[in-house]
């Protein structure tokens, strides 16, 4: 099977390790991965801030970049939700068509490849924050839990109040910084209380916010994208 990786602008510029892990993980599972170089950003930051006109060139660019692929896979629930939820309205039939071909990573693994045990090994105590767009707009449900539970050596601990927003919210994080960080600190406090060593998620923008708070607090907890955990194996472990 050949898929296009939609790495997302945040992962491209700030978290390439997540993109690399996604490529290696998919390849390990027998998938051929392409990276259409014309891709940049799905347009969500502009769209959600009220700049619909400025969003449209990015929507057209994204549609063009992923033409011809039956599966477009992205390690971001939020960007996948942007395509699925808003592209039909922003780009008509072409948008609706891309929406049916776009998959968030855990969704692609569980629903399309039909795997839950990806052969990973990660001997750490992990708690998982399900980001809002993946949970509410894509309905990802327990897919991440099933994948993580199957990882060798991984101890998954429940995050209390998991369904509450972490407070990132795109430009919300800088337009309402006090409320955003208040929400984030409640989330990091819950995560710290679990005794986990790793706070895992499927959206690096939420993890950027939570990780930024944790590092400011010098907290004994680091953030890690689920792709990097699933790409960790006994032969090539992710520290």
């Amino acid at each position: 099977m050949r898929v296009a990786l939609f790495v997302t602008c945040v992962n491209d510029a700030v978290y390439p390790a997540t993109g690399i892990a996604t490529v290696e993980l998919l390849e390990r599972l027998g998938v051929t991965v392409d990276f259409p170089a014309g891709q940049t950003c799905c347009g969500q930051p502009a769209f959600n801030t009220g700049y619909r006109r400025e969003t449209l060139p990015l929507v057209r660019r994204t549609l063009h970049a992923f033409q011809g692929y039956t599966h477009v896979v992205t390690p971001s629930g939020s960007c996948a939700a942007m395509v699925r939820r808003h592209y039909p309205e922003l780009a008509g039939a072409a948008g609706a068509e891309l929406a049916t071909r776009t998959y968030e990573l855990t969704e692609f693994l569980v629903d399309v490849l039909g795997v839950v045990d990806v052969g990973a090994c990660f001997p750490h105590r992990v708690t998982y924050h399900p980001s809002c767009h993946g949970a509410r707009l894509l309905g990802l449900g327990d897919r991440a839990h099933r994948l993580l539970t199957a990882v060798k050596g991984l101890e998954l601990v429940e995050l209390p109040g998991a369904d509450e927003c972490c407070g990132f919210g795109g430009t919300f994080a800088v337009k309402n910084p006090q409320v955003s960080t208040a929400m984030g600190r409640d989330k990091t406090a819950s995560a710290l209380a679990t005794g986990a060593q790793v706070l895992c998620g499927a959206d690096n923008s939420c993890l950027m916010h939570l990780g930024g708070l944790l590092r400011r607090q010098d907290a004994p907890l680091r953030t890690l994208h689920i792709a990097e955990i699933l790409n960790s194996t006994e032969e090539k472990p992710r520290p």
Partner: protein, 487 residues
């Protein structure tokens, strides 16, 4: 009714000159008592509601039915309002049409004056708060006594409501005890000596204080949860019974109701009388549901209830909202406040930061539509959300609040203005860069090399770094790794 062209005259006087949401919220976030009160209260109601909703296996269908009934009614609102007017008039009531807050206040003030009374008792009502009726009456020498327990706490405390259903949610019982002990005497019967903060004791103090008002009052002012067009019946749904006292004891009843509260038939109530109590108080059925049809009750043999009934139909920006095909779904709202109780932003910012009698997610889409986006507070409300979608999930009439928020952000961004110039420039610059992958890669490489996000600090960096670290940048962007390793 004349069609309201500018939806901007609905501002209640108490909220004029409010600071923008981020500024008001920033203060609230640091108020530990407020945060603790709100967290405790919203989490308690949130969990109970989830339980009450989970009991019904047809909740999704009820939700869809409620949405459709409201959409249908709003689409044909002109017709149903005329039917309602005819039915109310036929049942012995008088109907008045108010285009805005000022007109509604003039009508009610004149009606009270006609009775010769100088005081009224009030049933909890969002519409009368929206128009600032109490203040308008006071200016004409008429005292308005709130009789809902929480509204009484707010009124005695010279405070503002901070929640649709639980207006004093920001107060704990110790604070309420102090308000009762200090203030009740100024408004009527004082609180009993040595009042404690036990909820039963507090309720008893309120009961004694209010009973005096109920028995004396000759005029009552109410809102309504629903108006049934086919019969002209108004419905008030409540928990305490104080509303029923107001609706049945006085001789004159004046109800001020937003035009969107109309439903076509009695049968439609069946849906909302299930979804409203479960969504608001997590009850299967609310304790008191009062229904009245004009002055029919008073005219019946041995009849009881008000002998005179006035219905003031309030527009105050609503027809302007109806004209917006995305924004109009806000008018489906049945004021259950489930969206407030699940909102992580409301929980931290508190209701007052929203600068309106309608706080929380629903307020963030209602206030800027009813009042326009001319003020700092109204222009900031559409951004008072992380777009997490918890509100939409619980809304019993399926208002897609995130969708309306983004829609209103477009309105604010289009309007521009001094504060938006930098933002617009940044969006345009980012848009250009993201539409030119070659240039984007060059910027990414430079940023990685210099280990700074951008050569100059991007706008908003200070807001990020006050409490958070910026991420460390990687040695190279993903696209360079790909080029070196996979091509």
């Amino acid at each position: 009714m004349r069609r309201s062209t500018t939806p901007a005259h609905g501002a209640a006087p108490v909220h004029l000159g409010m600071p923008s949401f981020p500024r008001a919220a920033a203060e609230a976030v640091h108020d530990r008592t407020l945060r603790a009160n709100l967290r405790h209260a919203t989490h308690t109601i949130r969990e109970k509601r989830a339980g009450a909703v989970a009991e019904l296996d047809d909740w999704d269908r009820l939700r869809e039915a409620g949405k459709r009934i409201k959409d249908h009614t709003l689409r044909h609102l002109d017709r149903y309002l005329e039917q309602l007017e005819e039915a109310v008039t036929g049942a012995g009531g008088a109907v008045h049409w108010a285009e805005d807050a000022a007109e509604a206040n003039r009508i009610v003030t004149a009606l009270v004056k006609q009775t010769g009374e100088r005081e009224v008792v009030k049933v909890k009502s969002m519409a009368t708060q929206e128009i600032g009726l109490n203040e308008a009456l006071r200016a004409e020498g008429i005292a308005a006594y709130e009789t809902d327990l929480a509204e009484l706490i707010v009124q005695l405390g010279d405070d503002r409501p901070s929640h649709i259903l639980v207006p004093a949610i920001h107060r704990n019982r110790g604070e309420i005890r102090d308000i009762f002990a200090d203030r009740m005497g100024r408004w009527g019967r004082p609180a009993p000596e040595g009042l404690g903060d036990d909820p039963r004791e507090l309720a008893e103090a309120a009961r004694l204080h209010l009973r005096e008002k109920f028995l004396r009052a000759r005029v009552a002012v109410s809102g309504a949860n629903f108006m049934v067009a086919e019969t002209g019946t108004l419905v008030v749904v409540e928990s305490e019974g104080n509303g029923r006292m107001c609706l049945t004891l006085p001789e004159t009843l004046i109800s001020v109701v937003g035009i969107e509260k109309t439903v076509p038939t009695w049968r439609d109530l069946e849906v909302f009388l299930q979804t409203l109590p479960r969504s608001s108080t997590a009850e299967r059925m609310n304790p008191y549901t009062s229904m009245w049809t004009g002055t029919a009750a008073a005219r019946a043999r041995d009849g009881d209830g008000p002998r005179t009934f006035h219905l003031v139909l309030l527009d105050n920006g609503r027809t302007g909202v109806l004209a917006d095909d995305v924004g109009r779904q806000a008018l489906r709202c049945i004021r259950c406040s489930a969206c407030l109780n699940v909102c992580p932003v409301y929980e931290r910012a508190g209701g007052h930061a929203y600068g309106s009698v309608y706080p929380g997610p629903i307020g963030a889409i209602l206030s800027p539509q009813l009042r326009g986006i001319g003020s700092d507070i109204d222009a900031s409300l559409p951004y008072a959300s992380s777009l997490c979608g918890a509100c939409f999930e619980v809304c019993p009439v399926a208002i897609d609040i995130p969708e309306v928020l983004v829609h209103l952000r477009e309105r604010v961004a289009d309007r521009g203005g001094a504060g938006r110039r930098l933002e617009k420039a940044a969006v345009k610059a980012a848009g250009w860069l993201l539409d030119h992958p070659g240039a984007l890669a060059a910027v990414e490489r430079t940023a990685s090399r210099t280990r700074a996000l951008l050569p100059n600090r991007p706008p908003g960096a200070g807001a990020w770094t006050a409490e958070r670290e910026l991420p460390e940048l990687p040695p190279e962007p993903f696209r360079d790794w790909w080029r070196k390793n996979r091509t």
